[in-house]
């Protein structure tokens, strides 16, 4: 059974219509799929089907440990949104509710390779000299 109904599929297809560059959704799961691993995989595959620029790739957290390590994946379910390079955009847990909107917006931004941030913010970020990890905790609403 599809997770996304026809109305949502239509909306997402529209939102992804101007995506011109390839984007890969690298999904990490494990053999005994975790609480929402199966649903997350189905969701990612359904979203990927809505744009010919999108591909869904499924990796096993254990068997593909080298890939997980390359993308810094430390728990599952995980989705890395990869454009012409790896921008460091990750989603852990099922991207449902608010986070579903974030996923779609991530795909659009990663395809364009543009953050859309204010010029002052861009200038501040350009001063960074060491790697930084930001974690944002949310709940499905």
């Amino acid at each position: 059974m599809a997770l996304l109904n026809e109305a949502i599929r239509k909306e997402v297809r529209g939102a992804l219509a101007d995506v011109k560059q390839p984007v890969a959704l690298k999904f990490f799961t494990q053999a005994f799929e975790c609480q929402y691993c199966k649903e997350t995989r189905e969701l990612i595959e359904e979203v990927a089907a809505l744009s010919d620029k999108l591909t869904a790739e499924v990796y096993d957290f254990v068997k593909d440990a080298d890939v997980a390590q390359r993308y810094g994946i430390d728990k599952v379910p995980a989705v890395a949104v990869i454009g012409k390079k790896d921008y460091g955009v990750r989603l852990y847990g099922i991207p449902a509710g608010y986070e579903f909107g974030v996923l779609i917006e991530d795909i659009r931004m990663v395809a364009q390779g543009d953050s859309g941030l204010a010029s002052e913010t861009r200038a501040a970020v350009a001063k960074l000299t060491k790697p930084i990890r930001i974690q944002v905790f949310s709940t499905p609403t």
Partner: protein, 63 residues
């Protein structure tokens, strides 16, 4: 959302959006009582959704 924008802007920034009910141990570790809660480099904790300039002020502390 803003965190992901920052990740796209800088090669040095990685941004994780974490659905905390699926990872309760992280909720405990980072004392997540309300969402969203932003944790920068384990040291800076921000409660609630913050506008861009505010986040940048916090950010300045790790620069």
């Amino acid at each position: 959302m803003l965190a992901h924008q920052l990740a796209i802007e800088s090669d040095l920034i990685t941004a994780d959006m974490v659905e905390v009910t699926e990872f309760p141990y992280l909720g405990q570790k980072y004392e997540v009582m309300g969402v969203p809660r932003t944790v920068i480099d384990e040291t800076i904790h921000i409660e609630g959704a913050v506008p861009e300039p505010w986040l940048m002020r916090e950010f300045a502390k790790v620069l």
